[in-house]
């Protein structure tokens, strides 16, 4: 009797379990892998997007995950996924335009391995100067560069985007041989270096230099963009593009695996577009993260990658020696 009751109970539990599995829900969870630090800008924005996804879609949920490792993480992602897997990954110009030129052996993937979904954000880097130098704009910078024997610039990592932006600006000013790039372990450290007097300049993301700027430790010279900054505490800072110097924005491309159905990619793009158009998200990106919403087409992305590639090829000798 006891055995029969136990068997009956077990069968009942299994049936309930099976029925629960046939509930008819078609909700798909897309895992979004950020291959950079979990505390970084991309990971934080990805978390915000994941949080907002439930507001804009009933059948698609974004699940943010950050596994630092850069190319190594993307290598694993490419090796472990196939078309139509509910997996997304971030790549940026760092991988597609810098690593691919300087250290291609690290990358076991190409742009062709991905299907572009959307650009998560755009970040405009700024050049800050030691407050003692009193350099506040590009023309004062040009005067300084003309008479300086050495131009020391703090950057995040030896061959990152910041290093190439510094190299391209001073290289285009004809002072490539005077530039001394000093690499730091993090963007925050690099931003602080200039206030401590270890370097004369620093290239950093706006949010990383904000506090030092507010404490009057640095001046903001220019922004690495086409025109002057429009939003945030640095609004009005002139863009290097206005003076004809090269520049690029830091972008974060959301990618699916190549071969994924166009309809799925298009649905994901629409979801991200809705999230990025949300007023709360726009305000948060602009005011807290000091980033910009910058949705892009596939053609824009390819143009961005090629622009950075050109800069990297032209100024790689200054950066990598």
């Amino acid at each position: 009797m006891r055995k029969r009751l136990l068997s009956l109970g077990l069968a009942l539990t299994m049936s309930i379990g099976a029925l629960a599995g046939c509930s008819g829900s078609k909700k798909t969870s897309w895992k979004v892998t950020c291959p950079w630090a979990p505390s970084g800008v991309a990971a934080v924005v990805s978390q915000k997007a994941a949080e907002m996804s439930t507001k804009y879609s009933e059948d698609t949920t974004l699940v943010a995950e950050a596994i630092k490792g850069d190319a190594a993480t993307v290598n694993t992602w490419v090796a472990d996924t196939k078309a139509n897997d509910p997996e997304l990954v971030f790549v940026g110009e760092g991988l597609l335009s810098i690593t691919s030129v300087l250290d291609p052996a690290k990358m076991q993937f190409t742009y062709e391995d991905f299907a572009y979904v959307e650009n998560l954000y755009s970040s405009i880097f700024v050049l800050s100067a030691d407050a003692k130098l009193n350099i506040n704009n590009i023309s004062e910078l040009e005067s300084y560069v003309a008479q300086a024997d050495e131009i020391s610039v703090a950057v995040n990592g030896a061959t990152g985007s910041e290093a190439f932006l510094a190299a391209s600006l001073f290289g285009a000013m004809g002072a490539g041989d005077k530039v001394k790039l000093t690499p730091y372990q993090s963007a925050a450290e690099a931003a602080q270096a200039v206030a401590k007097g270890e370097t004369s300049f620093a290239v950093s993301h706006q949010s990383q230099i904000l506090e030092t700027y507010q404490q009057k430790g640095v001046t903001i010279v220019c922004a690495f963009d086409e025109k002057a900054l429009e939003h945030g505490p640095f609004a009005g800072v002139e863009g290097v593009g206005e003076s004809g110097y090269p520049y690029f924005r830091n972008r974060c491309f959301i990618m699916a695996r190549a071969g994924t159905d166009e309809e799925k990619v298009s649905q994901l793009k629409s979801l991200y577009d809705e999230i990025l158009a949300d007023e709360e998200v726009v305000t948060w990106l602009q005011d807290t993260m000091l980033l910009e919403v910058d949705t892009m087409s596939k053609e824009d992305v390819e143009a961005h990658i090629n622009n950075v590639l050109e800069i990297v090829n032209e100024y790689k000798d200054i950066v990598a020696g």
């Binding site: 505390s39 978390q47 250290d103 052996a105 076991q108 690499p183 450290e189 270096a193 007097g197 807290t288």
Partner: protein
């Protein structure tokens, strides 16, 4: 400040906050007690939970994990001779020997009391001296960081065991292993042998699993099961700490809390460095240096108070300058940013009540850690009585799961295994593993700051003597080296006296 304290207490003392603190403390203690499951991993895993909360309960939950993680790592270090987190490695040197003497509960209690004191000390420093301390810390640059690292390397002599030469060889091995990966100054690969994952370098937590946990398993495999069974009938583990032991703990706890705060405010350094600095300092200043490594209460107290004193100190540069003091705090920064708070001194005027609520909350977190720890100590202490044939496989599973979970790949599991075998070979050669760990902890930081300082000064070594802080660290290094030499000479003298006495007999 006072105008913010009252609204801050109103914001802090809610049922929701108290609940989240306690959940965080419990999760952090248990997580950190498991080798391989580091505090940073725990914070990453639970971070999404905070995104639906407002800033204060979210931060209270994460601070609960962070502080309790500082204490939790000592549990496995004491019980199974494997630090749950890298910063509990110094605790292991005396915690486990004391446990083997049948005083497991006492060792756990010393760790808890010292952790709580260190945590509250740094929380009070954050509350009353945060902005002032941050301004001093902001003056420390690359040459000062290098001097801190050199000071750290003097510890090798103290943890080398019987032979200084063997200790130095081990430390060099650790420094060499720390070179694996991308060169921090040029990004060129070093010692990667074409293995793509190696360019990221070797994760400290993974190496730790191999060096301390897996090697214990391999060593156990060499013994008969009967030899592994502990005679628990003879143990009267009442967990009592004597008055004289409390007295002896006082000085190292105070000094180590101060060291922990000083190390914590320097971005890039963390609890591991603080616990080693303090352990070394406590040994140098102790009247019973011979007890260190054999269950010294001072050793446990110094290491634990220091690694928890880091918790509040790392928040100082974060909340005042927006610079995270260590990796875990950097992740907490995102919890603030997602709530629209961009840390910095200006936030003290715009959202002063929230800032002070967080700082007051840190004191509360440490108090709840103490209360929970008192109960958990009794449960944890029972681990030593679990039969080895049950405990060992569980440890192995946790080790491999922990190694995998750090970067979600099997490569790290292989690295842990390689380090386990390496540590086993070194054990056979009588080489101490702790200096390897020190080399791993300090190697990258020492090299990077040394090379960067020379880059800044265009190769002029006088940069290392260019500031008052450099001179202070230099004096500390000289004092530390002199103390070590004096200690070694007196050890040799004692050994000679004993040898002469034995010959006369």
């Amino acid at each position: 400040m006072l105008q913010y304290i009252i609204p801050a207490t109103g914001l802090l003392f809610t049922l929701e906050n108290i609940l989240w603190i306690n959940i965080g403390v419990f999760v952090g203690s248990v997580f950190a007690a498991i080798p391989g499951l580091s505090v940073i991993l725990c914070v990453i895993l639970f971070l999404p939970v905070t995104y639906t909360m407002t800033a204060i309960p979210g931060m209270m939950f994460l601070l609960g994990i962070y502080c309790a993680g500082g204490y939790g790592g000592s549990v496995s270090a004491i019980l199974i001779n494997t630090p749950g987190t890298p910063h509990a490695a110094a605790t292991m040197l005396d915690g486990h020997p004391l446990s083997e003497k049948g005083r497991t509960k006492a060792a756990l209690k010393i760790a808890l009391y010292a952790s709580t004191f260190g945590g509250i000390f740094s929380a009070l420093t954050l509350l009353f001296l945060g902005p002032q301390v941050a301004r001093v810390a902001a003056q420390l640059g690359t040459p000062e960081y290098f001097m801190v690292c050199v000071f750290g390397l003097t510890i090798i002599a103290g943890v080398s065991g019987k032979s200084m030469i063997r200790g130095l060889i081990s430390a060099c091995l650790g420094l060499l292993i720390a070179c694996v990966g991308s060169d921090p100054m040029t990004s060129y690969d070093r010692f990667t042998f074409g293995i793509s994952r190696l360019y990221l370098g070797l994760d400290l937590a993974v190496c730790l699993i191999g060096l301390f946990a897996l090697v214990e398993i391999l060593a156990k495999a060499e013994k008969r099961l009967d030899d592994l069974h502990m005679d628990t009938t003879k143990i009267k583990d009442d967990g009592k700490i004597t008055k004289s032991e409390y007295k002896r703990m006082l000085r190292p706890v105070l000094l180590s809390s101060l060291i922990g705060v000083m190390v914590g405010i320097i971005p890039g350094t963390g609890a591991s460095e603080a616990s080693w600095f303090s352990y070394s300092q406590a040994k140098n200043m102790s009247k019973h240096p011979e007890e260190f490594g054999h269950g010294s209460v001072e050793g446990i107290a110094a290491a634990e108070s220091a690694n928890n004193a880091v918790t509040g100190a790392t928040l100082i540069p974060l909340l005042t300058l927006g610079i995270p003091g260590d990796g875990t705090v950097a992740i907490m920064l995102s919890a603030l940013m997602i709530n629209g708070l961009n840390p910095g001194l200006s936030l003290f005027t715009t959202d002063g009540d929230i800032m002070y609520a967080i700082m007051l909350g840190l004191i509360l977190v440490n108090l709840f850690m103490f209360i929970q720890g008192k109960f958990l100590t009794t449960i944890f202490a029972k681990v030593v009585s679990i039969p080895q044939e049950i405990l060992t496989p569980i440890i192995v599973i946790f080790c491999f799961a922990g190694a995998y979970s750090i970067n979600n790949n099997y490569f790290d599991v292989g690295v842990a295994l390689v380090f386990g075998i390496l540590a086993w070979v070194l054990r056979k050669l009588d080489m101490p593993p702790v200096p390897i760990l020190l080399g791993l902890v300090l190697g990258n930081m020492t090299e990077t700051n040394f090379r960067r300082a020379l880059l800044i000064s265009n190769g002029d070594p006088s940069i290392f003597f260019s500031s008052i802080y450099c001179i202070i660290f230099l004096v500390l290094i000289i004092v530390a080296v002199a103390t070590i030499v004096k200690g070694k000479l007196s050890e040799q003298k004692k050994a000679q006296t004993v040898a002469v006495a034995q010959e006369e007999e």
